[in-house]
């Protein structure tokens, strides 16, 4: 059997590891445009100087040798030819597979802002090269701009601020981290960012990139006419799945490659996992991109099981969870951030340093937020994931621990 995986990030690596665990003999090949394995979640540490490239690696040094994986690195796959069961690489070379996993991830999305694509000094923050280039050009400048105050934008801003660069963050919504945080949580972070010299401009849209005589960025004009100075722009306005290689095939695609609960695409023997895959998400029960690390790992493993013929379903494809730590302040969120209508009950407990919010519907937890103290929050995540009835626990709802659900089998395994 020839297993081929495209992509060497969370999903691809996790699948390869699982494949080898389940099948000692077959040929496993990973093809990736990256020539290093690194965690994208830590790129801002590279910018800020807290970690070097080696320290972004999330697998053991001898991973490929130990697992007998053939790694074709630094190569882009141009196309997939399903009826020949082959891939064509950028250099024209063909690679044949019996089972294929597409774990190609996603790329930074650059919105249609005037001069954005023509001007020098504009970066996404997705790949190692992005981080290296940002770090390099940041040495020369005093001011930078980040477009988009999502997790990546904030990471970029903090990384740049670590280098002593003055950063302005432009956000379209009325608050930072609008997908992850409510007003109150966002305000707390915003105050911290401003204290540390990061300027946050919400309700703002970029209109035009301003360039100097050498076509190098010098600032950004907003739609209200305001001009923000900066000699480097990081664009963090979301990502798009890397699906170019399956163009022209019959593989079903919406935003990403549509997969079933076995991570199989609409074509037999072709699987997808991680940021490129679109799957039935547990919390919303809708087909969605699920771009969080833990799911990339799980989906990779599930794909691997099915690729070797062990039928395995992904039962907990729960993407509505986030964790973050910015400037020493930690937050974990699950499910809804705000009640959607009157059918929900919102409970809040807070003090100077901590904020907890629980959103209930029919005595079941639909949303949970922990800012400050985060220990033990995983119990609440599970209550949402498993839709556990809490009718008899409402009085003590903020103090639930696993002691409230304790169940142990004779092997010492816990369950709910």
């Amino acid at each position: 059997m020839r297993y081929v995986i495209v992509g060497a990030s969370a999903a691809g690596i996790s699948a390869a590891k699982k494949l080898r665990e389940l099948d000692d003999d077959s040929e496993i090949t990973i093809i990736s445009k990256d020539d290093k394995v690194y965690s994208r979640c830590m790129l801002h540490y590279l910018i800020g100087g807290q970690r070097d490239v080696e320290e972004l690696n999330f697998i053991p040094k001898d991973f490929f040798i130990e697992n007998k994986i053939n790694w074709i690195k630094g190569k882009t796959v141009s196309s997939v030819v399903p009826n020949q069961k082959s891939l064509i690489l950028e250099d024209g070379k063909s690679i044949f597979y019996d089972k294929l996993l597409l774990a190609t991830g996603a790329s930074s999305f650059f919105p249609p802002i005037e001069n954005l694509s023509e001007t020098e000094g504009i970066y996404g923050l997705r790949n190692l090269d992005d981080a290296l280039e940002i770090k390099d050009s940041a040495k020369e400048i005093e001011q930078a701009i980040v477009i988009g105050a999502g997790l990546v934008g904030i990471d970029a801003a903090i990384g740049l601020a670590e280098l002593g660069v003055k950063v302005s963050v432009i956000e379209m919504a009325d608050r930072i981290l609008p997908l992850q945080l409510d007003d109150k949580l966002a305000a707390k972070y915003q105050a911290k960012f401003e204290e540390s010299g990061i300027e946050i401009i919400t309700n703002a849209r970029a209109n035009k990139v301003l360039a100097d005589n050498e076509n190098y960025v010098r600032g950004l004009e907003l739609t209200d006419g305001q001009i923000i100075d900066g000699k480097l722009i990081v664009v963090a306005t979301g990502v798009r799945p890397n699906i170019g290689l399956i163009k022209g095939t019959e593989i079903e695609v919406d935003q990403g490659i549509i997969v079933d609960e076995y991570q199989q695409s609409s074509l037999e023997d072709i699987y997808a996992a991680g940021d490129v895959a679109q799957s039935k998400e547990l919390f919303t029960n809708e087909l969605a991109l699920t771009p969080i690390w833990p799911l990339a790992i799980k989906q990779g493993e599930v794909a691997a099981c099915n690729m070797v013929g062990i039928t395995t379903r992904l039962s907990d494809n729960f993407a509505y969870q986030n964790s973050m730590r910015f400037l020493g302040l930690s937050t974990i969120t699950y499910g809804l951030i705000e009640a959607e209508d009157d059918g929900y009950q919102t409970l809040i407990r807070e003090d100077k340093d901590n904020y907890q919010k629980l959103i209930l519907q029919n005595n079941k937890l639909k949303g949970a937020i922990f800012q400050g103290e985060i220990n033990g929050s995983g119990v609440y995540g599970r209550l949402i994931k498993d839709k556990i009835d809490l009718s008899d626990k409402l009085d003590d709802i903020f103090n639930l621990t696993y002691a409230d659900f304790f169940k142990e089998n004779k092997d010492g395994v816990f369950s709910y």
Binding site: C41, Y334, G378, V379, V413
Partner: protein
């Protein structure tokens, strides 16, 4: 592999296991442990339910550990032979995805640093400190077969 089996009925919530765990991580013994130092941390916990029943809750070193799957830095690994889920604090980036992912609340923030903290099953000792200090036998190490979760 081995796992700490919990007999909840036998636990009297003396918290000897927690003190032993704190002492072990501080390089102290129970008698010299500074009980006023709130940065002392036990990996495993005696928790109380809303009905007032106590339960000793100890890391399962799960067969399919959610914390390891969630770890984006490579700091959390599961040893194939021993089954122990280990945390390398030097690699940990403090992103808290493991905290977010553990359904039992058994991996938490280290009280002294922005890294995670969890049970290592006292792999450097002959016997786990918690078990050694449980006077009622509410916790004991049992041998569990591979992949029997």
């Amino acid at each position: 592999m081995e796992r700490i089996y919990i007999d909840r009925q036998l636990c009297e919530a003396c918290k000897g296991c927690m003190l032993a765990c704190m002492a072990k991580h501080n390089g102290e013994n129970i008698d010299t442990l500074d009980l006023l130092d709130t940065s002392n941390q036990s990996a495993n916990l005696i928790e109380q339910s809303s009905q007032g029943e106590v339960a000793p809750i100890f890391c399962r070193h799960c067969d399919k550990p959610e914390c390891v799957e969630a770890c984006m830095s490579g700091a959390l690994t599961k040893d194939k032979e021993t089954g122990i889920v280990s945390l390398d604090q030097n690699k940990c980036a403090g992103c808290w995805m493991c905290v977010m992912s553990c359904s039992y609340g058994m991996i938490n923030k280290d009280t002294n640093a922005n890294v995670a903290f969890k049970c290592d099953l006292c792999k450097d000792r002959e016997k786990s400190a918690c078990i050694e200090n449980c006077p009622t036998g509410a916790i004991e190490l049992i041998e569990v077969g591979e992949g029997r979760a």
